[in-house]
């Protein structure tokens, strides 16, 4: 039994406890319980750092469904530790922030329950080593995120945003599940550890690439990569602490985690490199491009998150090529991209968390997040301004903030990748640093928008709901800590690099890490020879020009109007999907019994006659038929005539009488076929049935001629004849294909076995008495049914309720 497993379970237990402790009016804030849990988990995880840094890993298993190889296996290594620390650390800060952010009138019990569920699910995702358990927690993050986005469920936009994120992440999750199952089919194991060991021999497997693509589909939807990024801006309807936690620091990084975790499985393949890098780079560009046009601060931050996630994703893609080479000095060279990715992952969590919280404070204090209504807040909210400044400059990649370091490393990695000798990077590969550079310019521009258009410029008091004031200190603690981290990481990056990121590199490149130390010395200063530095200088210069003179280039956005976005495509697809499925359903679900019978009969003809024709089972012979006397000919012929005349009957009395002719004729046939009991029963039953029909006669409407178009009648006729013909042909063929002798010779000993001379009766009451018993029950139920149908009538009261 591992303590690691309990790390995952404790948040869930807390989520269970919260409603018990939550009472309105209690003096202690309900947020205290989750914050204590989060902070103790964080501290507990910190104690693992020395061991992990020394290359140790921890594996614990709790049996769940051992017969299917599904066990709750947790595995802690460098990679999981980074994420687990982010989840619990930022979780603590977010809970602290939310205590001051959310008013006491909100449903805080719900909020913290969902939040703890999410934290547990997220820890489960990063700590699970078993594919199925990973998937379970993955879906739990989707569900709790859905609940959190729609926390203000009274608002339509919240519900819509929640629904959209649910649909997109769930479909991605489902694709991922299929990918996992394919991986299981390839390797025969559910454990990621074992898969990584086995997979190098199996990369040629036919399911290898499909599994990879499906897994990436899951990762891209979760991490809001192009074109699945559309749910993230809409998820901004959630309370700001949720946006800060889920949609910047943790959940959107689940896809990143998945890509990093499965790099040893799929990395080194050209498909993986191109998709991860290509999609990442394009997401980086598209997100930053779209962010600049936003007027809502949270939407801007959402697009910037999309963009930064694309950047991290692309770096993981670039790093994965190292696995292609096996061990060599060259391969280690490319792992630096992954190092930069992990580094930026942490940096992004710090500055984006701080920025979201700062925006939340602005929203909380002045009542709006619209850039056009904001301005000049710096003098009123100096601390928030400082936090935003640090966050934005770090995001823009300026010194002395940690974003600068990771941005430099990113540029360096993008430049390095153009020298790559595999996967045909010759031409397209040169685009990577260029796109990265352009995207960084846009990043710079929107970062400046956040700081300067919100906090500087004219103060527009009349446009604000409340006059600006610095927020209470409680709300400032968390963003201040994060902003502080931004600075600390810049000045002491190698502490982080050596103790946290180096062990994570060993998880991403297990085969290389055994041979060489993958740690990278993070340099604050590369010297003037570094191209990356000049790229940053270029970004700043051009960024300032673009920011200062928006008029000269803003027309670009006219070329890409908002209606052309993937959002509109998504809405269109949803709308059309609903419409067309409704149309489709209405086209065949007519509510008319005859149509459904028509389908059933058509399928009967198609399947039975079709199979009959395909197998060619025609086999007719009349050689062993019994002789037919003239009398029998007459009976059979008159029955046929009677049956057909029912169709032409002018009145219902004729039809009923013709039906009884059929019944009595069948009874007569039973006599000829040496079945006295049958003949007797048939006669009696036919009489009673006829009486029943005649009783109903007076209560039923007059027999009307079947109206209908000729075409409809012809279809009916064709279908009926086809059904009859199929029936006859199959029956005839069956008669001539006896497989074995009958078993009835056994029943002929009925006198010795059952003490009866009438064999049919002994079968009914002795050999197969169960049938008879249940048949009696059927008759009883029918009697009760007839009685209650006639007697019981729904009262008016019931009717009214139904119509309400």
């Amino acid at each position: 039994m591992g303590t690691l497993n309990f790390i995952v379970l404790i948040p869930f237990l807390t989520a269970l406890l919260i409603p018990l402790f939550y009472k309105k009016g209690s003096r202690l804030h309900i947020g205290l319980l989750p914050i204590l849990v989060a902070v103790s988990l964080f501290i507990y995880l910190l104690t693992y750092i020395p061991d992990i840094a020394n290359g140790k890993t921890f594996l614990h298993t709790i049996s769940w469904i051992p017969s299917y190889g599904i066990n709750f296996t947790t595995y802690l290594d460098g990679l999981s530790l980074i994420f687990a620390l982010l989840i619990t650390g930022i979780g603590t800060l977010v809970i602290l922030y939310s205590i001051y952010y959310l008013s006491e009138n909100e449903q805080l019990g719900h909020f913290y329950t969902y939040l703890m569920m999410f934290m547990g699910a997220m820890l489960g995702v990063v700590l699970s080593d078993n594919l199925m358990v990973l998937y379970v927690f993955w879906e739990l993050t989707s569900i709790s995120s859905f609940l959190l986005i729609a926390f203000w469920y009274q608002r339509k936009r919240s519900r819509e945003g929640a629904q959209k994120s649910m649909l997109i992440t769930m479909s991605g999750g489902f694709g991922m599940l299929v990918g996992f199952l394919m991986l299981y089919a390839i390797t025969g194991t559910m454990n990621v550890r074992e898969i990584i060991e086995i997979i190098p021999d199996l990369t040629g497997h036919v399911l290898f690439v499909p599994a990879m693509l499906l897994l990436l589909f899951g990762a891209f939807t979760k991490s809001a990569q192009f074109p699945f990024h559309i749910w993230l801006p809409d998820a901004m309807e959630a309370p700001t602490p949720v946006s800060a936690y889920l949609h910047s620091a943790t959940m959107v990084k689940a896809g990143i985690y998945l890509v990093a975790r499965f790099t040893p499985v799929f990395g080194g393949e050209g498909v993986w490199f191109w998709i991860v890098t290509g999609v990442g780079i394009f997401t980086l560009f598209w997100g930053s491009f779209q962010a600049v046009r936003q007027t809502d601060l949270k939407a801007l931050l959402a697009y910037s998150t999309v963009s930064q996630l694309g950047m991290i994703m692309s770096m993981f893609g670039m790093g994965s090529v190292a696995l292609n080479f096996g061990y060599s000095t060259e391969s280690v060279f490319y792992t630096q991209a992954t190092f930069a990715a992990l580094f930026h992952l942490i940096n992004h969590s710090t500055f984006k968390g701080a920025l979201f919280m700062a925006v939340g404070i602005v929203d909380h204090e002045v009542g709006t997040r619209d850039i056009r209504r904001l301005g000049g807040l710096a003098t009123f909210m100096p601390i928030t301004f400082t936090i935003s400044l640090i966050g934005s400059f770090s995001m823009a990649g300026l010194p002395p903030f940690n974003g600068f370091l990771s941005k430099e490393m990113f540029f360096q990695a993008a430049i390095d990748i153009t020298t790559l000798g595999v996967f045909h990077v010759d031409t397209l590969g040169n685009l990577i640093p260029i796109v990265a550079w352009i995207a960084s310019i846009f990043t710079f521009v929107y970062s400046m928008i956040i700081v300067f258009q919100t906090f500087l410029g004219p103060y527009k008091e009349e446009r604000l709901e409340r006059p600006a004031n610095e927020s209470p200190i409680g709300m400032l603690i968390s963003p201040l800590i994060l902003a502080g981290l931004v600075l600390i990481i810049f000045f002491f990056p190698n502490v982080l690099g050596n103790y946290i990121i180096r062990p994570a590199m060993a998880s991403v490149f297990p085969s290389l890490a055994t041979q060489v130390d993958l740690g990278v010395e993070i340099l604050r200063w590369h010297g003037f020879n570094s191209l990356a530095l000049w790229m940053t200088i270029g970004v700043v210069l051009i960024g300032i020009i673009l920011y200062k003179f928006p008029k000269i280039w803003r027309w670009i956005y006219v070329l890409f109007p908002g209606e052309w976005s993937f959002n509109s495509l998504y809405n269109f697809a949803i709308e059309q999907g609903e419409k067309s499925s409704r149309r489709f359903t209405n086209s065949y679900m007519t509510g008319d019994l005859r149509n459904y019978l028509m389908y059933i009969f058509s399928f009967f003809i198609l399947l039975i006659a079709g199979a009959f024709v395909l197998t060619g089972s025609y086999n007719f012979t009349i050689s062993d038929n019994a002789m037919i006397s003239t009398f029998e000919w007459i009976i059979v012929m008159s029955l046929m005539i009677a049956a057909i005349s029912i169709l032409f009957a002018k009145s219902r009395l004729t039809a009923i009488l013709l039906n009884s002719v059929l019944g009595y004729g069948v009874a007569l046939l039973f006599v000829i076929f040496r079945a006295p009991d049958l003949a007797l029963t048939q006669t009696v039953v036919e009489t009673v049935t006829t009486v029943l029909f005649l009783v109903a006669y007076y209560f039923l409407p007059e027999w009307q001629k079947e109206q209908g178009t000729r075409k409809a009648n012809l279809t009916k006729l064709v279908v009926s004849i086809a059904v009859g013909a199929t029936f006859t042909v199959v029956a005839l063929a069956a008669q001539n294909n006896r497989l074995f002798e009958r078993i009835s010779t056994y029943f002929e000993d009925s006198y010795e076995l059952a003490g009866g001379r009438n064999i049919v009766n002994t079968i009914l009451s002795d050999f197969r008495g169960f049938d008879t018993m249940l048949e009696v029950v059927v008759l009883l139920i029918a009697g009760l049914g007839v009685y209650s149908i006639i007697k019981l009538k729904a009262g008016k009261r019931g009717k009214k309720i139904e119509n309400q």
């Binding site: 049958l678 049935t689 029943l692 109206q707 009916k716 029936f727 009958r742 048949e775």
Partner: protein, 113 residues
């Protein structure tokens, strides 16, 4: 004989199908009744016709009987189909009484149910 009776059941099935596809409930009920006749005839035909004596052990020595098993099956079936016919006849009576129509086209329920 077997072939002839099978063809007879085929005709009954054709008629029954045609009646089931009609608009008025009474025709549908009749169609099901005719279907059950066809089924009974088919079952007894499958056991072979007139191959021996009535399946009752008498004092005289008879070597061959007709197959008693299909007869037992049909006997059960007759009773069940009678019960079902009675129930659906009552239902169509009640439906007509309550709704005032026996036309299936009008009995498809309202759009808003």
């Amino acid at each position: 004989m077997e072939t002839l009776i099978t063809i007879l059941s085929g005709v009954l099935v054709t008629v029954g199908t045609y009646l089931l596809l009609s608009k008025s409930i009474l025709r549908v009920v009749l169609g099901t009744a005719i279907f059950s006749h066809a089924a009974h005839l088919l079952i007894i035909t499958m056991g072979g016709l007139k191959t021996g004596n009535v399946p009752i052990l008498g004092d005289e020595d008879v070597s061959a009987f007709v197959d008693p098993l299909p007869q037992a099956l049909i006997l059960t079936s007759i009773v069940i189909s009678f019960a079902v016919t009675a129930v659906i006849l009552t239902i169509s009576y009640r439906a007509y009484q309550t709704l005032g129509t026996d036309n299936l086209e009008e009995l498809r329920g309202s759009k808003y149910d």
